[in-house]
Subunit: 314 residues, 4 copies
């Protein structure tokens, strides 16, 4: 690249000024004039806004990690309610946690300083630990009561159809992810469904259940195939990340937008930490895609992004 | 804890002395007298050795991450051949990579310095990047040829039964994980099977396939239920980690041994990085279990552990 | 711990609700009802507020990492201007970057996607890269001009006295850390001063300079010794973290408050990633100290904390 | 890059085969045919070997992190004794730990499972924790006795001259880093010397001490300036990394070889985690340098590298 071309592209870092009565939009815009993950977060906000404003863009959202126990259920709910997500791919654990909260059970705040926790004692108290949050055993009993009385319409329905059925049958709730997805007809895919407490309860009480995972896989490919344009937001990697990306290979133009919020690193070669750049080689991301990886705990970045999107768009 | 009790428990760190003609057993034992991850690696080696020597112990092995592309296929193969693994839980990607290599296709070494890689160019060359390894597109054509001619005996068999069938039908190979598992009757579980290139090819060519994931889930629970004692080695977290641990909750005595090799960190609350200690609260690990987490890339730690085990036990 | 005592301590996680016109105080308070790093960030905010409101508390602030190039100079400046920092410990690099900006030179925004950067080409263009920010070589010429004309009053003054002299001699500037520290009489300690571009220029132009590092070390100990109460905020670890903590061992009551914002992890045993808990064993933190480690890029966490403090206190 | 040029450069990943009676040279060579950090470790081994065999190459070694408490003192000692290090740059903490061991005091092995450690109790027992290693307080008393009786020849000598004097005055010891450096005339630089327990003791007992840090800085620049060729091995980042790299800017051809072993990540912009590639933009690394970053705990990688070098070269 010749000198002048390079220099034209470069702008100065502006030292961010934080006011007492800062506005979230100004705040994010200012972060965009800085560097490191502050800038990446700002770019992610702008990409997400652009994805939403682009009416042709199908928005895939991959959710891994225990975000519901960590108090982010309502945040995810609002992304769905406001139309910021078209297709949700998540883990069985997230669905288990979501049902628990929807049925009126709650996770508990544990010690901030994990070292002060005695896991052996927690076990004796029937408290299951997820980092600094506890899930009481009795929550599973509540899920079992709900699950055991289900009249599943078809043992061989796809997992996503079953999750729609579940959402329809859950009680009304302002935070529930399953419920709002059912209401807004946002499909939920869960490729590793049997890797969850929810599936264990289902398996124990509905012995003939054989939810069809291949139907989900193929319908997900079709959704990508039909998308004129595609965007993706990935929280935490895992199976949801790969399942979205393997489908986007079949999207005629690959994904045009991509956001990734993770703490994992690329150097050990697992997909969770892989750069979005790598996805270009696979044809999962378009060679001209806009993308930003934010190295951050999602419990910090996601509420900030929601705040920005609500203020910008609603 | 009174003074004397504490001091009795403490021994001095010994400065490790590395000889030119070091023996791997002495080397690992010396690491055991140090601190940080060197010590954790040594403890992991000793725990694995004890697991193997304990005839009552059922050894679960969770494998996530692209270890076959990274040249670790034969290492895993040998763990199975030598009887160091009784039950393997892995990802669809690992199985896809294993089949590719078994069919005679190979991954390619890419640039050491990732920054010198142009993913757009790789895409044009039909090379898919996994960190610093490339998977040529033509590998998928080879898998497709193999998959399309399969006569699957039963569309509703469990995933593990299907993987046994696959192993039986693969050509002989000295490195193949699927093949050696089939030969040694080591079951392979893959809860997120449809999250893989292999499953996509299967789905495209066998439209009525509905492998029964719930059967796997329940048979895995039964294996744990029947285990007098249990041990677990987890490489890289992900679904394999959780699937093993959720089953071990049903093991009468939980797991007595656990090893975890990962680069993930616990602080963002995902299960991949969760400490083994946390598993005690869930009753997945016994309150008196021996366990060690090694914070290391598995491509370094796993060959070293295999070397130690072969020299110690064979 | 008996059942009831444990349960009394536990409160439910509350699902955070983000409003379009969210207030930063409500936002942080809501994060405090969640888990993982969101909660830790909220606790850090509350601890910092308490430190400031406690008139007996001496507030130490350790600053490592290239925060000025990343656009955080004004944020640090405001912490000092508002009286949120009593003693600053930092790196020679941060001071070099601060002087550059104060003299009217600026860092440049580089590519978001680091992989698109060609470092060899940057070298040819006389642009030095700090992750995604560039520092043009000509900045150093500007620093050299400034440094070469200094009339240093005493070749054997302490580093902190010299930095006060530097601040007094810099031109007026609204963002400068050195300037505001000089104006507000906030001492700056820099134990690894010669590890910096600034010190190199000084050494080349002032051959007899022998700034007395031991004087700094002892006066820092005295500051800790005299502190009725102490609090510490550590950004990024490094020498500033250790230098503050080694001094706090001499504080009669150790530190009562501690905040740490870092991406480093404890498992490899370096001090940068060490838990604050560990500092209790050393008598650097009081056994009853309030503390919180936030695993986050400081470029995200620090502006949020400043926003919260300004809104809460000003 | 045209098709053919790319494909010529690519070789197949070879699945590593680990034999019971593996040889360390074969083992490392096999890792070189794989991917991820296994390959990087193998490349680092080969680069180090080449650095040693190149008689014109001055070998800089940067040592940060508590490697002596972790049992790696003898490993570092042997690197020096065998001539694998020409110039050592390290932290005050490492020197403090080295003196302690050399005077006959020892670090203690703590709990493998850090969660079982009570830091408050350790404090009451006068045990200072460094991750899973303890440093008893009485060690400092031993250092104090040694330090207080020193007859320092010149209060304004450079830190490196002082460290040579220290090494000369320590008792004979087979593991001591300071001792072997003094014997082999390997200079030790320590830019953040006053950030250490050793310097605190010196400062308390030798009130007029004003070791000249600028002399070290300038002599280090001269060493780089005079080096026909240069190579660098960096353990853990920190001040030693930057101090070496800032000097190498003055090396006529920059560094031709570089190895980095670290667990830090580049994305938060600190120098410890910065890629070696970035150093090319600064002219610290030559545009054609051979380099490899190994993402690994040094307590695992360093003994393996030493083993390989001894077997290859002695």
């Amino acid at each position: 690249m010749p000198d002048d071309e390079l220099k034209k592209k470069l702008k100065e870092v502006e030292q961010i000024k934080v006011e007492k009565n800062e506005d979230i939009i100004t705040f994010i815009q200012s972060l965009g004039n800085t560097g490191f993950n502050a800038k990446r977060l700002a770019v992610a906000c702008e990409i997400y806004k652009e994805m939403i404003k682009n009416e042709n863009c199908v928005k895939f959202f991959g959710l891994a990690g225990a975000l519901v126990p960590a108090g982010m259920q309502k945040v995810i709910h609002d992304f769905i309610e406001e139309g910021f997500i078209d297709i949700l791919v998540t883990t069985g654990a997230s669905l288990t946690h979501d049902i628990a909260e929807t049925l009126g059970f709650h996770h508990l705040q544990g010690e901030l300083n994990i070292k002060d926790v005695n896991d052996s004692e927690l076990h004796d108290q029937a408290l299951n630990r997820i980092y600094d949050v506890y899930l009481p055993n009795k929550v599973y009993e509540g899920i079992e009561d709900f699950v055991s009385q289900l009249k599943i319409p078809n043992n061989e329905m796809s997992v996503s159809s079953f999750l729609k059925y579940l959402g329809d049958n859950l009680p009304p709730d302002d935070n529930s992810i399953l419920k709002i997805c059912a209401e807004k007809d946002v499909p939920i895919y869960c490729p590793a469904f049997t890797d969850s407490g929810l599936a264990l309860q289902l398996g124990f009480h509905h012995q003939n259940l054989n939810l069809n995972h291949f139907k989900d896989m193929l319908s997900m490919v079709n959704l990508a195939w039909d998308a004129k344009q595609a965007g993706v937001c990935i929280i935490g990697g895992g199976v949801p990340k790969n399942f979205i990306l393997q489908s986007l290979q079949f999207c005629p133009n690959s994904a045009q937008y991509a956001i990734q919020i993770t703490m994992d690193r690329p150097e050990q070669g697992g997909l969770s930490g892989a750069t979005l750049h790598e996805a270009i080689s696979w044809g999962k991301l378009n060679q001209n895609a806009k993308f930003s990886t934010v190295i951050s705990d999602a419990t910090i970045a996601l509420p900030v992004i929601l705040w920005f999107l609500k203020k910008s768009l609603l």
